[in-house]
């Protein structure tokens, strides 16, 4: 490949640049068939590699360059964030910030739900809970007042209990 005369090399490369086909070149330089094919293959390989180069992450230059002759827009921020393109640092920081903000919003919303649970209980449930307490309290108050009434009539607690039971029995059987 490297034994080809420099003028021939220049001619081959020029022809390839001008879009001459490999077959046509091989017909012209049959002795250098392998070299021509290999060079063309490598050229295509480089062209494919070139198409795979990612575009640089840039913003319009105006947003990054300090305004000469005018007010410099926060050179620290520009230098550290945009001009030096330290996106390896900026990106994780931005992502972390978004996660923190998002998390705060999400959990504060969720915490609010927990805190509001009692107030969000339906009125019927509240009423039901209240009525159970009221009924129990009412029973106690009634029993106490009955016992007090019997005590005023000279009936002891045991007699009161017995009367309650007998009354229960008689009520049951009378019914």
């Amino acid at each position: 490949m490297n034994n080809i005369h420099p003028d021939t090399v220049a001619e081959i490369m020029k022809a390839l640049d001008e879009g001459v086909s490999v077959d046509a070149l091989v017909r012209k330089f049959p002795d250098h068939r392998a070299a021509i094919e290999e060079v063309e293959e490598t050229r295509q390989l480089l062209a494919r590699a070139a198409s795979a180069i990612p575009e640089p992450i840039t913003k319009p230059l105006g947003a990054r360059l300090p305004q000469v002759g005018g007010s410099v827009e926060s050179p620290f921020v520009i230098n550290s964030l945009f001009l030096s393109m330290n996106y390896k640092i900026i990106l994780p920081v931005l992502v972390l910030g978004l996660v923190v903000v998002g998390g705060t919003v999400f959990f504060s919303g969720k915490g609010g739900h927990i805190a509001e649970t009692p107030t969000k209980t339906t009125p019927s449930k509240v009423a039901a809970n209240a009525s159970v307490d009221d009924v129990l309290a009412g029973f106690s108050a009634d029993a106490a007042s009955d016992q007090m009434a019997y005590a005023d009539d000279g009936v002891s607690a045991d007699m009161f209990a017995q009367s309650e039971l007998s009354g229960f029995d008689s009520d049951t059987y009378d019914y």
């Binding site: 490949m1 490297n2 034994n3 080809i4 420099p6 003028d7 090399v9 220049a10 081959i12 490369m13 020029k14 640049d17 392998a34 070299a35 290999e38 060079v39 293959e41 490598t42 050229r43 295509q44 390989l45 480089l46 062209a47 494919r48 590699a49 070139a50 795979a52 180069i53 990612p54 575009e55 640089p56 992450i57 840039t58 319009p60 230059l61 105006g62 990054r64 360059l65 300090p66 000469v68 002759g69 001009l83 030096s84 393109m85 390896k88």
Partner: protein, 172 residues
């Protein structure tokens, strides 16, 4: 309205970035180098220096040199393949059924392989291929950038392509 520097950026930033990618083998570093070039130009905007395309490529080239100074030097054993550009191809026993470079291009790592292989070439070879294939300059433009005549550039390009192919095949 775009300033003259912004116009230069719009026109050449992409080609300069791709040139730096070829020279450094590192996309992120290439971005930083190009940004630094324009930053320095912005800070010197009032100076009398005429900014031309050649000036920009030269500035990127210098930025790349600084980059290499900061990096660990390449071991000599890794450089021998690149410096052996005058070795004959016939000395290598390549089986017929071996996948060629084009077939390798189908793999996801092909781009990385090419960039790594480029780093094994001599500085001049890397430069000529980067300018021609990555930055998209014509042979005449490459010759102007490198201060050589067109035929010399074509011969350099031919040798660089041969070397690149050898490096890629040796990596298989």
């Amino acid at each position: 309205m775009e300033t003259p520097l912004e116009k230069l950026y719009t026109e050449y930033a992409r080609a300069l970035h791709r040139f730096a990618v070829g020279l450094t083998g590192n996309v992120d570093e290439a971005s930083d180098i190009v940004q630094n070039v324009f930053m320095r130009l912005a800070s010197k905007q009032n100076s009398s220096t005429t900014i031309t395309k050649a000036y920009l490529f030269s500035a990127v080239r210098n930025g790349v040199k600084d980059f290499w100074k900061r990096k660990r030097p390449i071991p000599f054993s890794h450089m021998t393949a690149a410096n052996d550009t005058e070795n004959e191809m016939g000395g290598m026993d390549i089986p017929d059924d071996a996948p060629g470079p084009l077939e390798q291009a189908h793999t996801a790592s092909e781009f990385t392989s090419v960039l790594k292989a480029l780093q094994m070439l001599t500085e001049e070879q890397r430069e000529v291929l980067s300018l021609k294939y990555f930055s998209g300059l014509s042979t005449r433009e490459v010759a102007a950038e490198m201060g050589k005549n067109e035929n010399t550039v074509r011969q350099m390009e031919f040798r660089a392509l041969s070397s690149l192919r050898r490096v890629l095949q040796s990596k298989k």
